[in-house]
């Protein structure tokens, strides 16, 4: 019996050695070759079908045509984007592991969570390419017609008005608190109930079903409800009006601070990306965002495609981070445990 086993083992080992030798024929080992010499992994820290996923996969279509090597889109989901983001931070900064950076994982989460296993400055930004305007909305048959109505209602009866979000540390979480605070609610954490749900779709549904009073989220998540007259937008946070949203802008209402409250997506990699990699990626990203098909698909979903320089991206992200962090500190929204 042992004899048979031994024979088998040696046969197996021999076979595997052949296998390994055969496979090493495929080895690409020209060290001087130009980046990229093998496929690039693009990590999306959120699940399939979410706003980040659709944005990243839509971007991957033109990137696939531009980048000389395949771009493999990979979802690594969990913990509000933390799982995937950490995996990119820990990857080699060689440009073969990049990620779609997103408002939730890169500014809101770091601003809110004390025990988050990564920091915002552990990443190199290639550039922000997409801005998502944010709108606040209530149910169409609600007696709340404006932000002032909403705030008046909160002040008249604290702890009866609620807003829904896609979870602790999401853009929606901070957006609801920030919006009503700008309009005069001193302590939104105590006076307004935050109802976290699993995912953006569930959050919008909660307002529709009457579980929550209002929601502040990306206009793309609200567009179909607004068209169908199920939800009524109260305001949009951008300077310019958003098509299809019959509501005043934050500029109209005299709240310029709220312009910071927008969603965005960009490309980032681990800290210490070689200059060559960053340069290449910038070129690819620029070309991809000029792709007509891409523009059409993204704009149909209500995104504003806006390619920022690395400096502008850094400034924009850090500024948003500081605004959120200040708000979190003032309101005591920080998650400690």
């Amino acid at each position: 019996m042992m004899e048979k086993l031994g024979r088998l083992r040696s046969a197996a080992v021999l076979g595997l050695a052949t296998l390994a030798a055969g496979m090493s024929a495929f080895v690409v080992s020209d060290a001087r070759a130009e980046y990229p010499e093998r496929p690039i992994t693009l990590v999306i820290a959120y699940g399939p079908g979410g706003a980040t996923d659709i944005s990243g996969r839509t971007l991957a279509v033109p990137l696939g045509k531009i980048v000389p090597q395949p771009v493999l889109v990979v979802n690594r989901t969990g913990a509000g984007g933390a799982t995937g983001t950490v995996s990119v931070r820990d990857a080699d900064a060689d440009g073969y592991t990049m990620m779609i950076s997103r408002v939730g994982s890169l500014t809101v989460n770091p601003a809110m969570k004390a025990t988050l296993p990564y920091k915002i400055d552990e990443f190199d930004q290639v550039g922000v390419y997409e801005i998502n305007p944010v709108a606040c909305a209530v149910k169409e048959d609600s007696d709340i017609k404006s932000m002032d109505d909403l705030v008046a209602k909160i002040k008249a009866a604290p702890k009866t008005v609620s807003y829904s979000s896609s979870g602790v540390g999401s853009l929606l979480h901070i957006a609801g608190a920030m919006a009503v605070r700008e309009f005069g609610v001193a302590d939104p954490v105590a006076d307004v109930i935050h109802i976290p749900l699993k995912g953006g779709g569930a959050a919008a549904t909660a307002v529709l079903a009457g579980t929550a009073t209002f929601i502040c989220t990306n206009t793309s998540a609200l567009a179909s409800f607004v068209v169908n007259k199920q939800l009524r937008p109260l305001m949009v946070t951008t300077k310019e009006p958003v098509a299809g949203f019959d509501a005043p802008t934050a500029a109209d209402l005299g709240k310029p601070n709220l312009h910071q409250l927008v969603g965005w997506s960009g490309i980032a990699g681990p800290k210490g990306l070689p200059a060559e990699v960053k340069e290449k990626w910038r070129g690819w990203l620029k070309a991809a965002t000029e792709d007509e098909e891409f523009l059409k698909n993204m704009q149909a979903r209500g995104s504003v495609i806006q390619m920022m320089t690395p400096e502008a991206s850094d400034a924009f992200i850090n500024n948003q981070y500081e605004v959120f962090k200040k708000l979190v500190d003032e309101l005591g929204m920080r998650v400690e445990g």
Binding site: G49, K198, G201
Partner: protein, 505 residues
């Protein structure tokens, strides 16, 4: 325009080669992806989405729907043949499908899975077309308190899948609930049993737990005792399902389909609980109750009808209200929006031709599923011919690849192996795995909805009795538990009686 005008206007949109190819291709992709453990139907749909951007709206959406439906059915193939559910939705199919394959009835089990799937699919589509408006408004009356009571009631299905010992079933469920608490807290975002590890913060992925719990223990059992069936090739299931068997199961299929339609139209529940609920309901009502879990064809029919019944119905909240109820519909809403369409009530007015084209396409998809699924069965059935000494290590490798693909994370392979050892321990101690899994699916839903309800009411518990729906499910829960206790006591006294009888002899 009346319905017939709409259908007439929609017909040319569907009756072209492109649409048929999209549907057929989508179903084929879905069946294959679903048959690969680790690749769920939703993942396959997400991967297909970018390819639809360049297509006509209706072609693209039909392609996605085809992938989804094919995926839900495809999951049953490995569930039956290698005890590895291809998608979460087919985990209930394992319970009777795999024992049937072991008995050499793989062909029968697969055939019944296909018949039940297609029947349920058709019922689901018809419900979507006829009852969408009504079911959608009903679904909207489900807030956290209603969900909480519905899920509490659904937990009673643990009794139906516990096998011989209800207590052991409940113990398994308790541990399933416990495992599901790993991750970030919903309300406060704080850590629970994460040990500050970013992988654990995301919780353990459901598909990973599922594969670990079902497939790996089977592999380990084989390693424990490989000699027994070394040369035994499981007889190729030449047996086909007969019409008589289909007729015998028809009531079950019908009931399970409607359970699927009901749960599918409520956003956020999904196909796996529906399959388990259908299974448990079928077992409760069947004269062959004892045979469930040991290779009862009715069990396969129930779970497959239960999960495919969801497929058409998930579109109800999407089309009638514009609500993306689950990941699947969220992806489809993306496909609509890329083409400038806004799903919701207005779409029935503004783009009625597209809606009706979709309806027609869905009906055709049920038929195509039957044809393509039948072909797939013919191909995959030969897996049962593979001797176990080759099959078992292959299953292990397949699971390693598939689980890696779930989240592109090595950590998931570790979790799968650990769950496999847990599952093996449970197998050796006659602790059933199904209650563990059900609790793992339903536990977070139960907790989240409870806490959301408490947030809504500032901690007042009367919100859990706020509507007739909550009263209905409270009542159903208590009735079910009462019936269980009564049956349990009766069995106990009968056993005692039997014991006394043998003792006095």
């Amino acid at each position: 325009m009346n319905v017939f005008d709409n259908i007439a206007a929609a017909w040319p949109l569907v009756a072209n080669l492109e649409s048929f190819l999209a549907l057929a291709g989508g179903i084929a992709i879905g069946v294959i992806a679903g048959a690969i453990p680790g690749m769920s139907a939703t993942m396959a749909v997400a991967l297909t989405l970018p390819f639809t951007f360049a297509m006509q709206p209706i072609t693209g959406i039909l392609l996605l729907l085809g992938v989804y439906k094919g995926g839900i059915f495809g999951g049953s193939i490995p569930a039956i043949l290698i005890k590895t559910p291809g998608t979460p939705a087919s985990s209930a199919t394992v319970l009777d499908g795999y024992p049937m394959a072991e008995k050499g009835q793989a062909g029968k089990a697969l055939g019944m899975a296909l018949y039940a799937s297609c029947t349920a699919d058709m019922i689901s589509n018809l419900s979507l077309i006829l009852l969408a408006g009504w079911l959608a408004s009903f679904a909207l009356s489900f807030g956290p308190p209603e969900f909480f009571t519905l899920i509490l009631f659904s937990l009673t299905i643990i009794a139906g899948v516990s096998g011989d010992s209800l207590i052991k079933g409940i113990i398994a469920a308790v541990f399933g609930l416990l495992l599901a608490t790993i991750g970030l807290d919903l309300v406060y975002g704080t850590n629970r049993f994460t040990f500050n590890d970013s992988n654990l913060m995301g919780g353990l992925h459901f598909i990973v737990v599922l594969i670990g719990l079902f497939a790996i223990p089977e592999f380990l059992s084989y390693v424990w005792k490989p000699s027994s069936d070394r040369e035994k090739v499981r007889a190729l299931g030449e047996q086909h399902v007969t019409f008589a068997e289909y007729r015998r199961c028809f009531r079950t299929i019908l009931r399970s389909s409607f359970i699927g339609v009901f749960l599918g139209s409520i956003p956020g529940i999904g196909a796996a609980p529906s399959a388990f609920l259908s299974y448990s309901e079928a077992r409760r009502r069947s004269p062959n109750k004892k045979n469930f879990g040991k290779g009862e064809i009715e069990g396969v029919a129930a779970s497959e009808a239960g999960n495919n019944g969801v497929a058409g119905a998930t579109l109800i909240p999407l089309l009638a209200l514009g609500i993306p109820g689950d990941i699947m519909t969220a992806i489809i809403i993306g496909a609509f929006m890329v083409h400038g369409l806004q799903p919701g009530p207005m779409m029935f007015v503004a783009n009625a031709n597209i809606i009706y084209a979709l309806f027609l396409g869905l009906i055709i998809s049920s038929v195509l599923l039957f044809v393509i699924g039948g072909l797939a069965i013919k191909m995959f059935r030969y897996i049962v011919d593979v001797p176990k000494s080759i099959l078992m290590p292959s299953v292990l490798i397949l699971c390693v690849f598939g689980v890696y693909a779930v989240n592109n994370n090595l950590f998931d392979i570790v979790v799968m192996f650990l769950m496999g050892w847990l599952g093996y321990f449970m197998l050796r101690n006659d602790i059933p795995a199904a209650p563990f899994l059900i609790a793992y699916i339903l536990g977070p839903l139960l907790e989240d909805n409870f806490r959301q309800a408490m947030l809504m009411s500032n901690g007042a518990s009367d919100i859990l009795f706020r509507s007739w729906i909550t009263w209905f499910f409270w009542g159903a829960t208590f009735l079910t538990i009462a019936a269980l206790v009564r049956t349990g006591l009766r069995q106990r006294s009968e056993a005692a009686e039997a014991l006394r009888a043998t003792a006095s002899e």
